[in-house]
Amino acid sequence: MHRTLRPFELLEPATLGESLDLLERHHGRARVLAGGIDLVAKMRRWQLAPECVVSLRRIPGLERLTVDQGGSLEMGPLVSLRAVERSASVQEGWPVLHESVQQIASVQVKTMGTVIGNLCVATPASDVAVALYVLDARLTLMGPKGERILPIEEFFVPVASSVLEGDEIVTQVTVGPLARHTGTAFQKLAHTKACIAKVNVAALVTREHGVCSMVRIALGAVGSVVIRARQAEAVLAGQPPDPKLIAEAADVAASESQPQDDLRSSAAYRRRMVRVLVDRAVTEAARTGWKER
């Protein structure tokens, strides 16, 4: 049901510092507006009715998407999903992030929605979050007490939540360069292309001397947060990525998942699909990883 938004005060700070001051002053009663895809939709359903909305949209420079001298990708709070999808450096350097965004269907959602906004929504089904898990992304949070930098895994907490305080803003996502001989893959299963994932999986495999020197597997929509399938990763670590071993790792990943029944899928089906998607993702990552990067 669509409704007129409940009244609120719209604040448009000119700098990040000013927005932090506003959040501190209105602690607990304010929400941050970036793209609005999640926030405004929830406000229209009256799921949220904040007293204040602090818009970041008029702050210059927040749409920066850059690769620094050390080869790390840095994304500011207003970097849209569309900007990530169209970035040649992301496609070249972090293809799994590109793929995770590319399969989001709606151009409008990608144009308005931001990477950081997507993470702040903290849904365990986030395609972008799953990709950023295997890339070991770091999030920079700024608040009244200063800055803290967290690995993405420490940002999310059960259930479908994050450690972000009401007076903090995620100001940057940073992703280091992929190591040589590293391949990645993203797999998603959903009702239609436009739907939220029943299961999504990202994998990263680094191969050295014929064996997997590093494996990361992330599972989305099968737990109260995105899950790193560490036991499955351990099955492959130091081993050649042969199909039998990948299948075994996929089985272990399925047992590590903690799916639930909901309107999109059943727990049993999700667990079986974790095995299928992990098998596909790791196989693809191991294959692409063999190419020189």
């Binding site: 009244p7 609120f8 405004v40 406000m43 359903r45 292309k193």
Partner: protein, 162 residues
């Protein structure tokens, strides 16, 4: 609730409107400016694309945009496409190809298509489908819509105005 005066640039015209913070761009266009070409389709969930307008050239869901944040920014709605000389090639192609059924999704479809053709004058069918993926047609007449966008692209390349 405080009302503030803001300047909106819609279809090349400038409007000064008293707006409240909780007014969406869709409500501004339809209820304050009387431009009802932009539609409310889904339950403001960003799923249907019927409310799509071009904000600074970018396809934007007006139902999820706070009007105030769109002030002083070029806004293009379906009402702004035709000129004194006639329909925009996209509009003409939609008519010629039979791409309009009930018509409810058409304004959003055409604006998404315009955003595509503005940056890619020669898209293939797959690119057209990707560009329109955020616009639902409940009549499910997608084939002719895609045909129309490809036809309009040809017309525009031959030398029609955009």
């Amino acid at each position: 609730m405080r009302k503030e005066s803001a300047i909106f640039h819609v279809n090349g015209h400038t409007y000064e409107v008293l707006v409240e913070a909780n007014l969406t761009l869709l409500e501004l266009l339809r209820d304050r400016l009387g431009m009802t070409g932009t539609k409310q389709g889904c339950a403001a969930s960003g799923n249907c694309g019927a409310c799509t307008v071009l904000l600074d050239g970018r396809p934007t869901l007006s139902c999820l945009t706070l009007a105030w944040t769109a002030r002083e920014t070029p806004i293009l709605t379906i009402e702004g496409l035709a000129t004194a000389e006639g329909l925009h090639p996209l509009q003409q192609a939609f008519l010629d190809c039979g791409a309009v059924q009930c018509g409810f999704c058409t304004p959003g479809m055409i604006l998404s298509a315009k955003a595509l053709l503005d940056e890619n004058p020669d898209p293939n069918e797959e690119e057209v489908r990707a560009a329109l993926a955020g616009n639902l047609c409940r009549c499910t007449g997608y084939v002719k819509i895609v045909d129309a966008v490809l036809a309009a692209a040809r017309t525009l390349r031959i030398g029609g105005e955009r």
